[in-house]
């Protein structure tokens, strides 16, 4: 384990009956990095996070937190981790300030320190106006903010967020994203989500799993540069349907998406595509308006990996996260 790693998962495997929910997944999270943990619903993200946190025991593999093998009795390590579950729930009879003070009581025995920190978190997450209300009346977004606040009570070095923006309205989502951006550099974050635009906007690294298997693990910048040009756009004045039909049979075409008079084409062989697309345009006598390559969006990478090459790990980008 490298010295600046806060978390290392080695060969994590979890089975529920015949279903292998997580299948030999390994990754590392380094201090101060923000890791987007993405995958379709049911991919095994929450199961993986629960194993990291000690809420589930792996059937195989091991988790190291801050250099120590994970153990629920290791309170010193637990004190350095914050966690927000996908559906945070709290004792409904409590008010937010007293809940935060209760959580703070696990980190410090000094009542004044706890109260001060709880008030700071109330302010940080905009909970002051809710101070007089019981949690039972909180909206989804308000509970999410309280969830974030409780996770920060112990000033964690590793923050684990499970789907923090799901179910939130645009404003709530914006607030959570903004907060995560502010946290960058102060703590390592591992954020599970299926909202890829969020990941693309704020994450340093991407860890992608599908059907329990890791399919991608790399810095976001590396993903983009590695695959730059794999998506080509060709725009013609007319006859785009004929062109699409002609290109669809080419062996190097992975997917074609029409966009008006343009086609977005995912290709496996950029050189062949660069030769044959203009040739096809000329053969049909079409007027070429635009022909360019661009970096693929994370969504396109995600779709190509989960649809086209299911389960096949990208060896060229292994071990880069964090």
């Amino acid at each position: 384990m490298s010295p600046d790693s806060v978390l290392e998962a080695v060969d994590l495997t979890k089975r529920f009956g015949n279903l292998t929910a997580v299948d030999h997944v390994s990754f590392t999270v380094k201090a101060g990095r923000l890791v987007g943990f993405v995958g379709p619903n049911g991919a095994g993200k929450t199961t993986t996070l629960k194993m990291i946190l000690g809420l589930l025991s792996p059937d195989e593999g091991v988790v190291f937190r801050f250099g120590r093998e994970a153990d629920s009795r290791d309170l010193e390590t637990l004190a350095r981790i914050g966690y927000v579950p996908d559906v945070p729930s709290f004792p409904e009879w409590m008010r937010p300030l007293e809940f935060l003070e209760y959580i703070g009581g696990f980190f410090s025995r000094d009542a004044e320190t706890v109260k001060k920190r709880a008030r700071e978190m109330m302010e940080e997450f905009g909970l002051e106006r809710l101070a007089g209300r019981k949690v039972e009346g909180f909206s989804r977004g308000e509970k999410q903010r309280l969830g974030m606040a409780q996770a920060m009570m112990g000033e964690p070095e590793l923050l684990v967020l499970d789907e923090p923006t799901s179910g939130l309205d645009p404003l709530g989502r914006y607030e959570v994203i903004t907060y995560m951006e502010r946290m960058k550099g102060k703590a390592a974050l591992i954020v599970s989500t299926h909202l890829l635009e969020d990941v693309e906007r704020i994450c340093d690294d991407v860890l992608m799993i599908d059907r329990g298997r890791k399919i991608l693990d790399a810095p976001l910048s590396e993903i983009k540069s590695f695959r730059e040009g794999d998506t080509l756009t060709v725009e013609v004045a007319e006859g785009v349907d004929r062109l699409a039909a002609a290109l669809a049979g080419m062996p190097w075409v992975k997917a074609i998406s029409p966009r008006g008079n343009a086609l977005e084409i995912m290709v496996s062989d950029k050189k062949a595509a660069g030769r044959e697309i203009p040739a096809a345009v000329a053969r049909f006598g079409l007027e070429l308006l635009r022909f360019e390559g661009r970096p693929p969006s994370l969504e396109e990478v995600f779709i190509s990996l989960t649809r086209g090459d299911q389960g096949e790990e990208r060896n060229g980008m292994r071990g880069g996260a964090g």
Binding site: G54, L55, P85, P88, P91, G105, F106
Partner: protein, 248 residues
């Protein structure tokens, strides 16, 4: 431990469960002697039938009170404590709690301690009003007998609580834990009855034996074997619950 215990205690007060428990003790503390006093007078008589009451005494009132504690209040204890651990395990809050720097055994211990304290408060309140009304209506109660019966009932109910918590940890289902613990408490006493031991060692015997002690008929010593059994078994169950919860 103190932080978690404080929260568990506060939860019982804020969710009114504490009031229900203490209220049940107080209601039966008042009703038992009053019923014994006025029942012979309020029951109708007719030419077809006649109910003959022996003279009702402090012993009658005590028997009625401890029967109510054994049958009704203990059921309330089980219902209120069945979800102490089992019902919360699957909640999102428990997931948050288990990732905090708190020993998992302490979560079980503090849930037990909060409920145990509330049972004690209920018993003290129930015994106090029972003693007040019985002394007023009949007289002849033993002060030391009252204190001994308080300890005996606490030991029996704490055993029932420990059994409920233990079964909650094992079964992970509040309803199932409640049913099994109520049956298990009396099954334990029946099992002990099969052994060549005096009936007094059975925890369930603590309720019936308490009435004679309170009324001054029997000595405090009859409560000792049952209290020892209850304390030993409750301690073992609590330790096992903490250990199992740590492992889970």
């Amino acid at each position: 431990m103190r932080n978690q215990f404080r929260k568990d205690l506060l939860e019982m007060v804020r969710t009114y469960r504490g009031y229900v428990l203490v209220g049940a003790f107080v209601i039966f503390g008042v009703l038992s002697p009053v019923t014994m006093k006025v029942l012979p007078k309020i029951l109708p008589e007719s030419e077809e039938f006649q109910i003959v009451f022996k003279d009702t005494t402090a012993l009658s009132a005590a028997t009625q009170y401890f029967d109510n504690v054994a049958q009704v209040v203990s059921l309330i204890v089980v219902i209120l404590s069945a979800g102490a651990v089992a019902g919360k395990r699957s909640t999102g809050f428990f997931q948050i709690l288990l990732t905090k720097p708190v020993r998992r055994g302490e979560i079980v211990a503090s849930a037990f301690a909060a409920h145990a304290l509330l049972i004690l408060v209920g018993l003290v309140a129930g015994h106090a009003v029972f003693a007040l009304y019985t002394e007023w209506l009949f007289g002849g109660l033993s002060f030391w007998g009252l204190l001994a019966s308080l300890a005996a009932c606490a030991a029996a109910l704490w055993l029932l609580l420990a059994l409920t918590v233990f079964l909650g940890v094992v079964t992970r289902r509040a309803g199932l834990a409640g049913v099994l613990s109520f049956l298990g408490f009396f099954a334990l006493s029946l099992l002990l009855g099969l052994l060549p031991l005096p009936w007094e060692v059975a925890p369930a015997a603590l309720f019936s034996a308490s009435s004679g002690v309170v009324a001054g008929r029997d000595g405090i010593v009859v409560l000792v074997p049952g209290m020892i059994t209850a304390t030993v078994v409750a301690s073992a169950l609590l330790a096992a619950s903490m250990r199992l919860f740590e492992r889970n």
